[in-house]
């Protein structure tokens, strides 16, 4: 049941089997627990029997065989909550598990701060803006504001970062001027408006303006974000990194230290 075994490893421990099953209290027993809600009433005796039958049917379809409904509770008139234990027959083939490596490690805020202190020895300066006619600051604010997004605090929360948020409808010239004045390490540009490919034109414009201004010098990192960007287009747009929909502040922070404060 546990896959082909080979002789003991160097420390006398049996080698990890290539094929495994969930572990309840005995190797290979395949026991798991799931909970779910079905939109069925749990009132009369007949309804209860039907609800439990429905839960068993789902559990069986999920591969739990045999399954046991250990808890069922009506919630309001139309719903029932179930806790089900059962045995799955599925096998996990560890040799088939693939892990896609991230180009940069995802760090905690403490690790980010530590890396900046160690790698830069000063605060990392981040300048953010929505450019052109774009008044949608939701994206840039979710990344920069302390309040943050998806349970993660924004970059302002990182002690070793200094964040300058220019807000909405910033001219590219002004953005570049402030970038120089603040000696920004990174420029974050958010573009939500995408009529007539405005987001692409905007990104190219910033990229060209930064290149022109920093001719011969090391230009700050240019990061753009917005729901309509294709992350694979970075080189085409002349930017260092593109973040798409659903990006969290921690991902941006981790990328910035990866690119700017190499350990």
């Amino acid at each position: 049941m546990t896959g082909p075994a080979s002789p003991g490893g160097p420390e006398g421990r049996p080698p990890e089997p290539a094929v495994i099953r969930p572990y309840g209290d005995t190797t290979g027993d395949g026991r798991v627990q799931v909970s779910f809600t079905l939109p069925v009433p749990f009132g009369s005796e007949e309804e209860r029997a039907r609800a439990e039958g429905a839960a068993l049917q789902l559990a069986t379809a999920m591969g739990l065989e045999p399954a046991m409904v250990v808890h069922a509770k009506g919630m309001g008139q139309d719903f029932t909550f179930f806790i089900v234990y059962g045995r799955v027959s599925h096998l996990v083939d560890l040799s088939q598990v693939t892990v896609v490596p991230r180009e940069f490690p995802l760090l905690s805020s403490a690790e980010v701060n530590l890396r900046i202190r160690g790698g830069l020895g000063r605060k990392l300066v981040v300048l953010g803006a929505c450019i052109g006619t774009d008044a949608h600051t939701v994206g840039i604010d979710a990344i920069l504001n302390v309040k943050g997004h998806a349970g993660e605090k924004g970059l302002e929360y990182y002690r070793e970062m200094r964040v300058v948020n220019l807000g909405a409808q910033v001219d590219v010239d002004k953005l570049v001027a402030r970038t120089r004045a603040e000696r920004a390490d990174a420029v974050l540009v958010s573009q939500v408006v995408s009529q007539r490919e405005a987001h692409l034109a905007g990104a190219r414009e910033v990229s060209a303006a930064l290149r022109a201004t920093y001719a011969g010098e090391r230009a700050p990192l240019l990061v753009v974000g917005g729901p309509r960007f294709d992350p694979a287009m970075a080189a085409d747009l002349g930017v260092d990194k593109i973040f798409g929909r659903g990006t969290t502040p921690r991902e941006v922070a981790s990328y910035l230290v990866h690119a700017l404060a190499a350990a």
Binding site: T37, M75, F79, D141, V146, E156
Partner: protein, 518 residues
């Protein structure tokens, strides 16, 4: 409530006096300035609703038009009602349409014109405030006809983005035991300098606060209140750049509680400090009149800083919120001061520290309907451990007699709650309330023991911080990063361009009624 901490009342009085000293210059700031949102709220209270074809509300268009030609330093009312009378308009809506099309030239009326404009504006605002009074009476009648649930009130959140999806969820939550339904706003609404219009079906991690959404949800909760024989309260957010307007809409549509903090927008949303304080005072005057309970946001300080180290910043903010609230006319029973159960569970005696903090807040504000927030920061995705932590939160709430319990979800931070998450959370809260109802009266921290010492220490640190704020000024302290960890200079952040210094002869017909009453 029987005191248990042996607090030195002289220290408590000193803390309040320091909060007042720190807050007084801010009140002066609010008395001598207005904002575009305050002026828009005046128009909303006078009945101006609706938006142009781009969705920009008429109140914004009219206030902009007046600002462009006559300026706002005398308030919007005099130029607007003067133009209304001079142009013989049937109502503000028609005036706003013409003004937006550039067909109206506004100016500050003088003499008899000024008197007529002032009188007409006062009459219009009188009707608006009378509507708020009627809504308040309606709430009292509803509570009489149904019933007022015993405290602690159970507070549950819905947030689908679609008001028509929120409604059945809110009704289901009420049937499951919620006494208060809060509709979370769409991310980023606080930074919009206008209030969207109409019923909305798309939002990001929340549902837009609009007058129509308020009306729809209140009507749905009225139905379920009658069905259950228990008044179910509705909560939304009077925060962000449109704080005064949302307060007005809440009063007009009989919302019952509103999130309304004196500093939250500054610290966490980078809204300009002056804008926030000016808007806040007007919004609280409206809330006071509407009988709305405000909820303050001190729980947020504990999510950005360590909950043990920052415990005193919560108390300082509560004292400031109390001062500003009372100055604006709110009664103790309308001050839903916030705090939270956010100490790292790995810290030894974390639960005992939580008890000390919660009891301290209870004793400092004995008549306030305190709002106690569940753990969020240390909810890890281990839903089983999270369920246990929520039970300890419920226990601390019951033992220290908290008034409003926001019910913690074991799936906090994973997803918006499943129906079953909410049901399990309520089961947890009900079990603790049933099992430990009398534990509070049997909880007597020994004199000089750990709990008392900790409470005294936090209060002492709060007094020290208030003294420092008194020295630097509140705006200076905020600029220095005293709250949260961010520095917010008085001339930074969003919305400063919407702040206007009042001229001599500034006229705000809403403020005149609201301040006359208090």
């Amino acid at each position: 409530m029987e005191p248990k901490l042996g607090l030195d009342q002289a220290v408590v009085r000193q803390a309040r006096a320091l909060a007042q000293a720190a807050g007084q210059p801010i009140v002066e700031l609010a008395r001598t300035h207005t904002t575009v949102s305050v002026e828009r709220a005046v128009l909303r209270l006078a009945g101006l609703d609706g938006a142009d074809e781009d969705g920009m509300p008429w109140v914004n268009r009219l206030v902009e038009a007046v600002r462009d030609s006559a300026g706002l330093e005398h308030g919007v009312a005099l130029p607007a009602w003067d133009a209304l009378l001079a142009g013989d308009y049937p109502g503000l809506g028609e005036l706003a349409r013409d003004a937006a099309a550039g067909r109206v030239k506004f100016h500050l009326p003088e003499g008899a014109d000024a008197t007529a404009a002032r009188r007409a504006a006062a009459a219009a605002l009188g009707r608006g405030i009378a509507t708020i009074d009627a809504r308040r009476a309606e709430r009292d009648a509803m509570i009489r006809d149904t019933s007022d649930p015993p405290k602690p009130w159970i507070y549950l959140i819905v947030a689908t983005g679609d008001i028509y999806e929120d409604i059945p969820q809110a009704q289901a939550a009420a049937r499951e035991g919620a006494d208060i339904i809060a509709v979370i706003r769409s991310t980023g609404q606080s930074l919009l300098d206008y209030v969207p219009e109409g019923a909305t079906r798309e939002g990001y991690a929340g549902t837009y606060a609009t007058r129509e959404n308020f009306r729809l949800m209140r009507a749905a909760l009225d139905d379920v209140s009658r069905e259950l024989g228990r008044y179910v309260r509705l909560t939304n957010y009077a925060s962000g750049l449109c704080m005064p307007e949302i307060a007005a809409l809440a009063g007009l549509e009989r919302l019952d509680m509103m999130l309304n903090d004196c500093m939250y927008g500054i610290i966490f949303r980078d809204i300009n400090p002056r804008r926030t304080f000016i808007d806040q005072r007007f919004s609280r005057q409206v809330h006071a009149r509407a009988g709305i309970v405000i909820n303050t946001g001190e729980d947020n300080y504990l999510t950005t800083a360590d909950a043990v180290d920052a415990a005193h910043t919560v108390v300082v903010s509560q004292l400031l919120n109390e001062f500003f609230g009372k100055e604006a006319g709110l009664a103790d029973a309308q001050l839903g001061l916030g705090h939270a159960f956010e100490i790292n569970p790995d810290v030894p005696d974390s639960f005992v520290l939580e008890l000390a903090h919660a009891q301290l807040v209870r004793e400092l504000f004995p008549d306030a309907p305190l709002k106690y927030m569940p753990p969020t920061k240390h909810m890890t995705g281990n839903v089983f451990a999270g369920y246990l932590l929520d039970a300890f939160f419920n226990l601390a709430g019951v033992m220290t007699d908290q008034s409003i319990l926001l019910i913690g979800m074991m799936t906090e931070g994973i997803h918006t709650p499943f129906l079953s998450d909410r049901d399990l959370a309520l089961e947890n809260a009900r079990y603790v309330a049933r099992a430990a109802a009398r534990l509070g009266e049997n909880f007597r921290p020994p004199p000089g023991g750990f709990v008392q010492q900790r409470a005294h220490q936090v209060l002492g640190e709060a007094v020290d911080l208030l003294r420092r704020i008194g020295r630097d000024g509140l705006l200076g302290a905020i600029a220095d990063g005293t709250f949260g960890i961010t520095r917010r200079p008085a001339d930074g952040g969003r919305g400063l361009d919407g702040v206007i210094t009042r001229a001599d002869g500034y006229f705000n017909p809403a403020t005149e009624i609201l301040e006359g009453a208090s």
